[in-house]
């Protein structure tokens, strides 16, 4: 079972914490909003992905099972 990152773009305010904690899968666009790699999170990055999810001050980022 693989997990993917999903951002709610309405809730997201572009704080950018997620991109700091998971730069391998999240970069910020020129306005500071996250551009998310929508491929399954590799096992090696699962911990960082969880940190990124819990660091979001707006609870806008989540992991979904596919």
């Amino acid at each position: 079972m693989s997990e993917k990152l999903l951002v709610n773009p309405i809730d997201c305010d572009g704080h950018g914490a997620c991109a700091e904690l998971l730069p391998e899968m999240i970069t910020l666009d020129e306005w500071g909003y996250p551009v998310i790699d929508d491929r399954p999170v590799p096992p090696a990055l699962a911990r960082d992905a969880r940190s990124a999810v819990s660091a979001c001050p707006k609870l806008a980022l989540r992991l979904t099972r596919s």
């Binding site: 709610n8 773009p9 309405i10 809730d11 997201c12 305010d13 572009g14 666009d29 020129e30 306005w31 500071g32 909003y33 551009v35």
Partner: protein, 431 residues
């Protein structure tokens, strides 16, 4: 393959060329509602008919019906069904026309959808005031209907581009502003008041009312194998830009709808979330998604506009994109930031304010921003706007080159595509 026969048309619109069908005329032409006696039976017919949604997304109608029926059964609640007659797209007038000329077909479809889904509430959502007091007339016609099993409530859509977007509609009917919400959970699972909700375009429901009467095989006598049946189109060509509403089979050649277009500058297919195509390319295509996909276009809600050759496609695009940027709900960062920038860059190019190197960088910015906003909103407003902008950059590349050198090919500066002058300023404008 295409069977673009036109016998049996119009199916939805009145036969005698425009006399509105009141209850008596409707009963004379179609007879009473053919209730199916149980939930779900209509769903099989709609699946066999291959009916797709006519609101723009072309989603299979039976799958939405089945999803709502199933979610309601699982949750042990009664779902709600909504006829979506909100037509925020300024270039479309087909749902307003259908509701004016044949309201009872839509209302029959709404009753049948309610039966199929097991709903005990039904809502007709329209721009009440858009045409000749359609709200008053719909109320009067609703009072005539004696066989309705579910009461129909009329609701008014605000005059916003996104008012008919599924989640915006549900937000609005729930007492809030008509702005989209995050698409999960789907409204078919948890929609209005938290119950499974079927939102079906008004024209789609009218087709359902006919499928229930005449069956899937009859429905498939028109159209293509992948997209059976007919659809309503809003067609603009020629000087005054006033639209005609024409019912045609899927697969009809664009040339037969638009006529001889030697003098046209370009053709817009699918409206303001749609695609500009060079005239010569458009003339080789048919009005179905298989054919249009080959050109990167889609049928959408059946909007076609042939831009007269004396107009500037860049100026038209800039005016429409400014409107689209102002109609952004402003909830998602990429849309809030990207659309106004795209609008400003297009205006600079169209007016010739950006020339030489500034023009080249504006064109590069537009391509980059179009890529950056796509797929990153809660709704498809940024995606559709980006598609429209990119198609303009391709189709009007020659015009862009002229503008870079400070020239414009247009002899006529009067606006062609319709854009409302009033745009939202405060939150109340979305209510």
């Amino acid at each position: 393959m295409t069977t673009a026969t036109t016998t049996g048309l119009p199916r939805l619109l009145p036969r005698d060329g425009g006399r509105p069908e009141d209850w008596r005329l409707h009963m004379a032409r179609f007879g009473p509602i053919p209730y199916r006696g149980s939930t779900g039976r209509l769903i099989d017919d709609v699946r066999e008919a291959g009916l797709t949604g006519r609101g723009g997304a072309a989603f299979p109608a039976h799958r939405k019906l089945a999803a709502v029926a199933e979610a309601a059964a699982n949750q042990r609640v009664r779902p709600v069904v909504i006829a979506n007659g909100a037509e925020g797209e300024p270039a479309s007038d087909k749902d307003a026309t259908l509701l004016w000329l044949a309201p009872h077909l839509v209302l029959d479809g709404l009753q049948l959808a309610a039966e199929a889904a097991g709903a005990d509430r039904a809502i007709l959502y329209t721009h009440e005031d858009r045409r000749d007091d359609v709200g008053r007339r719909l109320r009067a016609e609703l009072r005539q209907r004696r066989d309705d099993r579910v009461d129909v409530v009329l609701a008014t859509a605000p005059p916003r581009f996104l008012a008919g977007q599924e989640t915006a509609l549900v937000n609005h009917l729930g007492g809030g502003p008509a702005v989209p919400r995050f698409p999960l959970p789907r409204v078919t699972e948890r929609g209005l008041d938290g119950v499974p909700t079927l939102v079906q375009n008004a024209e789609t429901l009218a087709h359902m009312a006919l499928i229930a009467r005449y069956g899937p095989r009859w429905f498939r006598q028109l159209g293509t194998g992948a997209e059976p049946g007919s659809l309503l189109t809003t067609v603009r060509r020629g000087g005054d830009g006033r639209p005609r509403i024409v019912e045609v089979p899927f697969g009809v050649p664009l040339m037969s709808l638009l006529g001889d277009l030697e003098d046209a500058g370009a053709v817009l297919v699918g409206g303001y979330h749609g695609t500009w195509l060079p005239t010569a390319q458009a003339m080789r295509l048919r009005l179905d998604n298989e054919s249009l996909r080959s050109a990167g276009a889609a049928v959408g809600a059946g909007i076609l506009a042939a831009l007269p050759g004396d107009r500037c496609g860049l100026a038209e695009t800039a005016r429409v994109v400014r409107y689209l940027a102002l109609e952004s709900a402003g909830q998602c960062g990429p849309c809030l930031n990207g659309l106004p920038r795209m609008s400003a860059a297009l205006t600079a190019l169209a007016t010739g304010r950006a020339a030489g190197r500034a023009a080249a960088s504006a064109r590069a910015d537009l391509e980059r921003w179009a890529g950056l906003v796509t797929g990153r909103g809660a709704c498809h407003h940024p995606d559709g706007t980006a598609r429209f902008v990119r198609s303009a950059l391709r189709t009007f590349a020659g015009e862009l080159d002229r503008h870079e050198r400070g020239r414009c090919g247009a002899a006529n500066r009067a606006p062609y595509l319709p854009v409302p002058s009033l745009t939202a300023r405060t939150e109340e404008d979305w209510l």
